[in-house]
C-alpha cells in the first residue's frame, strides 16, 4: 500500500524535473523581486536576527560570552557568536521550512484547483527555493568559520546533513501542507508551536549540557540533530555516527515521518481540490 502511494509521488516528479527547477526559480524571484537590494534581504534578515540574539546573550548577559562543550572527554570552549552562527544557519532553513512549507498548497492553490498538476511537486519546488537561500547562507557561514576557527575534513559532513535536512522537512510538509489546505486551524497550530520550539532547541545554548534526563529528552527533538550536526561538521570535529543514541533516535523519527507523510498526502490529495 505504502509502496503504491510512494510510486504515485515519484511518478508525479518523474516527468516534471525541469519544471521543478523553473518553478523554484520563480519562487525565489517572487520573494525578492521589487526590492531595491533584492536578494540581499535573504542575508540581511537572518544577520539581524543573529546579531540581536548575540547581543542579548553575550553582551546583555555578560556571563554567557562563552559556551563550553564536552567533546571526546575534553572541554571545548567556543565564542558564543561562532557557536550561535553555526546553529542559526540550519535553524533559519528549518523554521522557514516548517512554517512556510505547511502553507504551500494553500498559497499555490491555482495549481490544485484550476489545472491538472502534480501537487506533491509544489512542496518540492518551494523547498528547493529555500535550499538555494540556505546554500548561500551556508557559504557565508563557512567563510566566517574558516576565519575564526579553521577548516577540517570533518566539514565535508555538510553533504550528509544538508540533504538529510532537506528531505526530512520535505517529508514533513507532505503531512502538514495537505492538512493546512484542509483546515486553517492546523496552520495556526503550527505557527504557534514553532514560536516556542526555538527555545526547546539548542540554537543559542548547548543542548548536551543540561541536567540529567533533559539532555536525553532533547535528543528526541529532530531539529537538535541538525543544529548539533552542523556543529559536528564545523566546530566539534566529530563524525555523525560517533554519538550513536542521537543518530538512532533521529533515524527512527526520519522513517516514521517519511511513512506518515506518504500516508497523509495520499489520504488527502483527492479531497484538496474540493476544499480549497
Amino acid at each position: 500500500m505504502i509502496i503504491v502511494f510512494l510510486k504515485d509521488i515519484i511518478n508525479e516528479h518523474k516527468d516534471f524535473g525541469k519544471q521543478i527547477f523553473v518553478l523554484a526559480k520563480t519562487e525565489l524571484i517572487k520573494t525578492y523581486k521589487g526590492a531595491a537590494i533584492g536578494p540581499f534581504w535573504a542575508v540581511v534578515k537572518p544577520a539581524f536576527t543573529l546579531f540581536v540574539y548575540w547581543f542579548a546573550f553575550s553582551i546583555g548577559i555578560k556571563k554567557l560570552g562563552h559556551v563550553d562543550v564536552l567533546i571526546h572527554g575534553h572541554n571545548l570552549s567556543f565564542d558564543r557568536f561562532l557557536f550561535m552562527l553555526v546553529g542559526f544557519i540550519p535553524w533559519f532553513f528549518i523554521s522557514e521550512s516548517i512554517t512556510k512549507g505547511a502553507k504551500e498548497i494553500r498559497l499555490n492553490r491555482q495549481y490544485v484547483t484550476k489545472i491538472n498538476f502534480p501537487v506533491s511537486t509544489i512542496m518540492t519546488f518551494t523547498s528547493i527555493a529555500r535550499l538555494y537561500v540556505h546554500l548561500a547562507l551556508s557559504l557565508i557561514m563557512y567563510v566566517i568559520v574558516a576565519l575564526m576557527w579553521g577548516t577540517s575534513w570533518y566539514n565535508l559532513q555538510i553533504f550528509f546533513y544538508m540533504p538529510l535536512m532537506f528531505l526530512f522537512f520535505l517529508f514533513l510538509s507532505w503531512s502538514t501542507a495537505p492538512m493546512c489546505a484542509f483546515s486553517r486551524d492546523m496552520e495556526n497550530a503550527i505557527v504557534s508551536i514553532m514560536s516556542g520550539i526555538f527555545w526547546l532547541t539548542g540554537v543559542i545554548y548547548n543542548s548536551y549540557d543540561l541536567p540529567k534526563p533533559l539532555d536525553t529528552i532533547m535528543l528526541f527533538n529532530p531539529i537538535n540533530f541538525f543544529v548539533n550536526g552542523y556543529r559536528n561538521a564545523f566546530l566539534y570535529d566529530r563524525f555523525f555516527f560517533e554519538f550513536r543514541t542521537e543518530l538512532v533516535i533521529f533515524l527512527v523519527e526520519f522513517f516514521a515521518l517519511f511513512f506518515l507523510g506518504i500516508f497523509n498526502y495520499n489520504r488527502l490529495r483527492k479531497k484538496i481540490p474540493d476544499v480549497l
Binding site: D15, F16, K18, Q19, V22, L23, T26, I29, K30, K33, Q110, Y111, V112, T113, K114, I115, N116, F117, M179, F182, S183, R184, D185, M186, L268, K270, K271, P273, D274, V275
Partner: protein, 329 residues
C-alpha cells in the same frame, strides 16, 4: 506541412476504436462542512452525518475521437464538475474515468501563470506543465506570440499585464499546443470584439481539424453550429444524450415544464391568499399581480406545446416510425 497531414488524418471520426473519453458510472460527492471545527475534526476522524452534495450521479458516456459534444444544463447541474473531471482537476469517488491524450482547457485561461516571469517564460512554464519538451514549445512559441498580439509586452513580466492581456496569452497558449481534446466553456469573454471574433474563428478552425471537443454553452445556436451531439444534464444526472437539436428540445420542454409547475404553485398560493386572508391590502396586492402570473403561465404552456410538437416532428423525421422512445433515461 506535416502538421497539415496529421490534421487530415484526425478528421475521420473512428467510432470503432476505443473512446477518447470514457466515463463509467462516475459519482462525485462534495462534503460540505457545517463549520470550521467540523472541517478540522474531519482531518482525523470521519464526520458522522456530513452534508453531502452529489454533483455527479452515476454518469456514463463515451466520446470518440473527432466528435464534438455539447453539454447543456442549468447552473449547478454538474457541468463544471464534469469538465473538471475531464481535465483531471477533480477525482471521482466511484466509477472510472479514462481520458486519452492532451487536454487543452479553455476554462481557466490564466491558471498556472507565474506573474513575476515574462510572457515568453510563461509560455515555456505552461508548456512544461502540459508535458511538452523544449523543442515542442519552441515550435509553438512564435505562433503563440503572434496570436496573443501582445507586442513588446511579451518580454515583460505578466504582473504588468491587464487582465485582458493575460487572458489572451492564456488562450493563445491553450489553442496552439495542438491538443487532442479541447474543453471549451462558453464564458469566453476574451478581449475586445475583434479578438473575440478571432478566438471564435480559432476554435472553429481547431474543431475542423478533427480534435475531440467538449463544449459548454447556454447559447443553443452556438452549440448546434459546432456540435452534432449533445448531452443534457440535470442535478448530476445525464437526462438525455443524442443529436444536439433533439437534446436542445428535450432541454427546453423539460425546463418549461418545470417553470409551469413553479408558476402554478405561485398562482395557487396567491388564490389561497385571496380567499383566506383578512387583510384587505394583501388581497388587493395579490389580485393585482395574479393576472400577470396567469398570462405568463399561458405563454409558458404555449411554448411547451410548441417544443413538444417540434420534438415529435424532429423524432419522426429522424427516426421514422420507430421513434417511440429514444430517451435513455
Amino acid at each position: 506541412m506535416s502538421e497539415f497531414f496529421q490534421n487530415m488524418n484526425r478528421q475521420e471520426v473512428d467510432m470503432a476504436s476505443a473512446p477518447v473519453i470514457k466515463f463509467d458510472n462516475v459519482c462525485k460527492t462534495y462534503t460540505l462542512y457545517k463549520s470550521d471545527q467540523e472541517r478540522f475534526r474531519a482531518l482525523f476522524i470521519k464526520p458522522r452525518n456530513p452534508i453531502l452534495h452529489r454533483a455527479l450521479d452515476h454518469v456514463s458516456f463515451e466520446v470518440h475521437k473527432g466528435e464534438a459534444v455539447g453539454i447543456m444544463g442549468d447552473n449547478g447541474c454538474g457541468k463544471s464538475t464534469l469538465l473538471k473531471t475531464v481535465t483531471g482537476v477533480n477525482f471521482p469517488d466511484e466509477g472510472s474515468v479514462e481520458v486519452k491524450g492532451m487536454v487543452a482547457a479553455l476554462l481557466e485561461l490564466t491558471a498556472g501563470f507565474s506573474i513575476e516571469m515574462t510572457g515568453r517564460e510563461n509560455i515555456y512554464l505552461k508548456g512544461y506543465i502540459l508535458g511538452l519538451d523544449d523543442d515542442a514549445i519552441k515550435v509553438i512559441e512564435e505562433k503563440v506570440v503572434e496570436f496573443a498580439e501582445l507586442g513588446e509586452y511579451i518580454d515583460q513580466p505578466v504582473r504588468t499585464y491587464s487582465s485582458g492581456m493575460k487572458m489572451r496569452l492564456g488562450f493563445a497558449i491553450n489553442v496552439n499546443i495542438s491538443p487532442d481534446i479541447l474543453v471549451v466553456d462558453e464564458a469566453l469573454a476574451v478581449g475586445d470584439a475583434a479578438f473575440k471574433a478571432k478566438c471564435k474563428n480559432k476554435i472553429r478552425e481547431i474543431i475542423e481539424t478533427g480534435v475531440t471537443v467538449l463544449f459548454v454553452s447556454h447559447n443553443a445556436a452556438q452549440v448546434e453550429e459546432i456540435c452534432e451531439r449533445s448531452i443534457y444534464m440535470k442535478k448530476g444526472h445525464i437526462i438525455f444524450d443524442g443529436p444536439t437539436k433533439e437534446t436542445h428540445l428535450v432541454y427546453l420542454t423539460d425546463k418549461r415544464s418545470m417553470q409551469i409547475e413553479k408558476r402554478k404553485k405561485k398562482i395557487a398560493k396567491l388564490e389561497k391568499l385571496i380567499s383566506t386572508s383578512d387583510n384587505a391590502e394583501d388581497i388587493k396586492a395579490a389580485e393585482n399581480v395574479l393576472p400577470k402570473h396567469k398570462k405568463r403561465l399561458e405563454t409558458l404552456e404555449a411554448d411547451l406545446a410548441q417544443y413538444t410538437s417540434d420534438l415529435e416532428n424532429f423524432r419522426k423525421e429522424h427516426y421514422g416510425d420507430k421513434a417511440e422512445n429514444t430517451e435513455n433515461k
